[in-house]
């Protein structure tokens, strides 16, 4: 039985979502050796406006190259989160940039402040997409961390390798922390019903 895994990276123009999609597709296709199709959709503006990039992964040739039911949604803006959350499968993974997405539609979302990390830790807002890519590699099984690192380093301009590698690591660490926080959230025991009644 073939599988099909659908990723949508969304946000606003200028956040580097299309480049992120390209790197992710290269990591999966070239370094991990699976079938992959990457497409994009953006407005005529260079910055602002909405922008999205989609990556489909499969173990066989991909027919329809766009996403239908998302397995993973990355939202780097509140607008894109609101717009695309309904396309996510019930057991799909939602990752948001909590710098911009303040209202998450589900408690199951992984919230990581990619842009704030980029701003404060690296003083370079442009690496937010690479940080998000690190988080994505950590949180999903479709791509290996090593493949992502190779793909990033093959794409970025010379002289910025260290910056990008550090950004990737920061993303992975942030994701790990988010995952721990999330696990803790899950094990919070529900208040037993009897106790609830007692309190009346």
């Amino acid at each position: 039985m073939s599988y099909r895994y659908e990723v949508r990276l969304s946000g606003s123009g200028g956040q580097g979502l299309i480049l992120m999609g390209i790197i992710l597709a290269e990591a999966i296709g070239i370094y991990d050796g699976k079938y992959v199709a990457q497409t994009q959709s953006y407005g005529p503006e260079a910055r602002g406006g909405s922008s999205k990039s989609e990556v489909i992964v499969s173990d066989e040739e991909i027919d329809y190259p766009k996403a239908m039911h998302l397995d993973l949604l990355l939202a780097m803006s509140q607008k894109s989160c609101d717009e695309f959350y309904p396309d996510l499968k019930p057991d799909g993974l939602l990752i948001v940039d909590s710098t911009f997405v303040t209202q998450v539609p589900t408690a199951k979302a992984f919230q990581v402040p990619f842009t704030r990390i980029a701003r404060e830790k690296f003083n370079r807002e442009v690496v937010a997409n690479i940080i998000a890519l690190g988080a994505l590699a950590q949180l999903t099984p479709i791509v290996s961390a090593r493949a992502v690192e190779s793909a990033v380093l093959a794409r970025v301009p010379k002289g910025t390798e260290k910056l990008n590698r550090d950004a990737l690591k920061a993303g992975m660490n942030a994701a790990r922390r988010a995952k721990e926080a999330w696990t803790k959230l899950e094990v919070v025991p529900e208040v037993p019903k009897e106790d609830l009644l007692d309190s009346y």
């Binding site: 390209i22 597709a25 290269e26 296709g29 070239i30 079938y35 992959v36 199709a37 990457q38 497409t39 994009q40 959709s41 953006y42 407005g43 005529p44 991909i62 027919d63 329809y64 190259p65 766009k66 239908m68």
Partner: protein, 364 residues
């Protein structure tokens, strides 16, 4: 597409940047100079195709890439290239129109423009692609056809396919079949640049190699000079058409998917063919016998392929991202036994498999 162009022998590109075709120029601007090729950014699309025609006459395989608005500007020179029989490849990455339209959104609305955009009664070759691999293969094919038949070839792409990244392994260069124009074997003083031959395609001499001849957009005689003699005009125009029509079987490419037992056949091309393939699989899971005919050659219209499925299926569905430009052709060749339904979408988004599936259940 760039790799396809280079392996086919393209060494000249002139163009003017336009979304969603700029990437082709961008990459060629880096790669062509490394191969001793020439890359020129011209002042507009009219000049771009002019430069391409000039380079081709000098013996260099040439191409340009544009989108709807630029393709409109190229129509005049496209006609010139057909008339003067100059091989060249024109990529048109279709976007929403008319006018500036939707620069970043996909469309298939230039299908008829590729056929009848330039004036006069002329043949046209236009190919499409629906995967990254096909972009490569069809670019090679476009160059081969243009060289073989001394005619411009249009590659009709759409934003989805042109901006898509997929994994493909480039074939070994030696395995790629490349055709080069036939050069004259006679001495220069005997050379007839527009002479009729059994194939209908005269030999083509490179400018600067001693073969002097006249190139004009006026209807010309076998030497290339303007003529007003009906006994020269008629045979010339007839030959222009014949050199394409007697090779239909070689030019017309189409792929059949599960059409053998199909009651309903989808006829699609470009990115929509991918949606159609998924819709076909899902329909079959539901027990509806659906097949797919994917048109690879758009012009000349693959009549024989469509006739094949018209004999087997009782319903044909033609989904297109325009108001029905190819469905008219399908209806034209339909003798009337099968019903032809359309599915048209012009909102700048790709037709989804679900929409095709819904239409299938509607018409089934």
């Amino acid at each position: 597409m760039v790799e396809g162009a280079l392996v086919a022998g393209c060494r000249f590109f002139a163009g003017y940047p336009i979304t969603p075709a700029s990437e082709i120029s961008e990459i060629l601007s880096i790669k062509l100079p490394r191969l001793d090729g020439t890359f020129i950014q011209m002042e507009d699309e009219i000049a771009s195709l002019g430069a391409v025609i000039g380079a081709s006459l000098a013996g260099v395989k040439s191409m340009t890439a544009t989108s709807g608005p630029g393709f409109s500007l190229m129509q005049e020179n496209l006609g010139f290239a057909i008339m003067a029989e100059v091989p060249c490849v024109i990529v048109n990455v279709m976007r929403g129109g008319p006018s500036t339209g939707l620069p970043t959104f996909p469309s298939q609305s230039d299908v008829m423009q590729a056929r009848w955009g330039t004036h006069g009664d002329h043949p046209a070759i236009a190919l499409s692609a629906s995967t990254v691999r096909e972009c490569y293969e069809m670019t090679v094919k476009a160059f081969n056809l243009s060289e073989k038949f001394r005619t411009p070839v249009v590659l009709l792409m759409d934003e989805v396919v042109a901006h898509m990244r997929e994994k493909m392994v480039l074939p070994d260069e030696d395995d790629v079949e490349v055709f080069n124009r036939v050069k004259p074997t006679v001495p220069p003083e005997w050379y007839m640049p527009y002479e009729d031959t059994p194939r209908g395609v005269p030999a083509m001499a490179n400018f600067g190699e001693g073969y002097r001849y006249h190139v004009t957009g006026l209807t010309h005689d076998v030497r290339g000079f303007p003529t007003s003699r009906p006994d020269e005009i008629g045979p010339f125009i007839a030959r222009l058409h014949r050199k394409i029509s007697q090779h239909f079987s070689e030019i017309q490419m189409a792929e059949f998917f599960q059409t053998e037992d199909a009651e309903i056949t989808i006829v699609a091309y470009g990115c929509v063919a991918r949606s159609a393939r998924r819709a076909m699989i899902e329909a079959r899971e539901r027990g509806i016998k659906v097949g797919l005919l994917k048109l690879v050659t758009i012009w000349p219209f693959a009549r024989s392929a469509v006739e094949k499925v018209l004999q087997k299926s009782r319903i044909l569905l033609v989904p297109e991202m325009n108001m029905g430009q190819i469905s008219r052709e399908v209806k034209r060749v339909n003798p009337g036994v099968a019903k032809v339904f359309t599915l048209n979408k012009v909102d700048g988004t790709i037709i989804t498999p679900e929409e095709i599936l819904n239409r299938i259940t509607e018409v089934a």
